[in-house]
């Protein structure tokens, strides 16, 4: 199990366990975390699964594909550290990753 620490837009903090090989989106959904809509279930067409990844962790992630980088621009509240959680595949290297949830996904 890989530990994910998160903070909501209201500043509430929490953590959940993700399964290596699953996407961050699927793991968050499985853990019942609110605030990630993921309407398209990971098909990269909805832009409603945005998270902000803590600076320190950004370089540990595979860089976004061109398509993801473009989709992130269409989210409601994009930031330089925005990622689509359906495109982040969890692995042991990401144990302890810190993310923040946007104020809204749509």
């Amino acid at each position: 199990m890989v530990r994910v620490r998160y903070r909501t837009a209201d500043g509430i903090e929490g953590a959940f366990d993700a399964s290596p090989g699953l996407s961050l989106m699927a793991s968050a959904k499985a853990a019942g975390i609110d605030g990630i809509e993921a309407e398209c279930g990971g098909s990269m067409v909805c832009a409603t699964c945005q998270v902000y990844v803590a600076e320190a962790w950004l370089s540990t992630l595979e860089p976004p594909s061109e398509m993801e980088a473009e989709m992130v621009e269409y989210t409601r509240h994009p930031r330089p550290n925005s990622r689509l959680s359906c495109q982040i595949v969890m692995s042991e290297a990401l144990d302890g990753i810190e993310i923040e949830l946007p104020p809204s996904q749509r």
Partner: protein, 402 residues
Amino acid sequence: MATLARVIPPNVRPEQVFDFDIYADPRIDDDVQGSYSAVLKAAPDIFWSPLNGGHWVVQRHDLIAEIVKNPTVFSAREMQIPRVENPPFFIPLSVDPPENVPYRHVLMPKFSPRAVSEMEPRMRAMAAEIVAEVADKGKCDFIHDVAARFPVSVFMEVMGLPLERLHDFRSIADTYFKARTSEQIQASSQQIFGIFNELLDYRRDNPGTDLLTHFLTVDMGEGRRLSHEEILAMCFVLFLGGMDTVTNVTGFSVQHLAGDPALQARLAADPSLAGKFAEEGLRMFGVIGTPRLVVKDFDDHGVAFRKGEMVLCALWQSGRDPAKLDDPDRFDIDRGAMPHYNFSTGPHLCLGHALARTEMRILVEEWIKRVPSFRAVEGAHHGFRIGTVIALESLPLEWTVA
């Protein structure tokens, strides 16, 4: 269509057969989605209806997601039940992944959550104007006078279509959705293409900031432009998807609201509840079913899907799945989660989901501001259509003008 011979292929087991005429089942009544839900309680999660050429129906939330997220087995390239000779071709709807992706990306700048939120003030002004036209009259047909006009106006603004054509557009879309034979479908598609050809010619000479101009100028990579045929195929699905759907879901939701004075009072006192109301309306009153063509044999959940068979995902059932929420046939804006796939999910998730939700929320807010208390005209017949699209034909309302 129920006059066609009943079809039960050998791969279908007797206990999987449940007769249901998706175009005219007599058990469906004025509470369209409610009676659907009631009738299908007796049917298996995935069943075979021998009517309309014979086809599968999938009626559970999680199973629907499995189907629409498995395009290598369940292709979107044909969507007619029964199958027709020359099925219409939509972009991106008829295109399976990965070929659909570049088209979704062309459309995204105008339909993304961000683009929609930027359009909100303009949409609110349009909604207020439409509501103002009826508010002092004390009565209206909510479908015709409000629910049809608003989403179509918003859509036409996005597309850059002249509002004078509103009436033409609606009646052509109506004809299209009522069409059953391939001749009827072809004829009404031709009319739709005719209108778009005319408008594209106009935008070629008079570029604006609208979607048609974007289609004409966008770079698809390495300088490739969209072909005229591709543009028409996109316009076609946008036209059909943006016309009727919002009208009907809003209509059914407000039909419910007309019978619930306590909910009207709550919304009037706190318009910020309109978003919850819209989402619960979406959950309760789905209006789209998505057909898929089985393109290779596939066995799952005890069902033998065979190549060439049609599958209807009855999306309106997805929000009424007792496995996903308590008392699913009750309208309750205080529910925490409102799980449903009335916008589908997966690669063909409705492009307009953010737009549609925002439209519904804004229209309800503007309506309740001006008409805080109203009721359905007693004894009036509303009328409905079923099929792969569910429609409410009228909604006569009345209220006391202050």
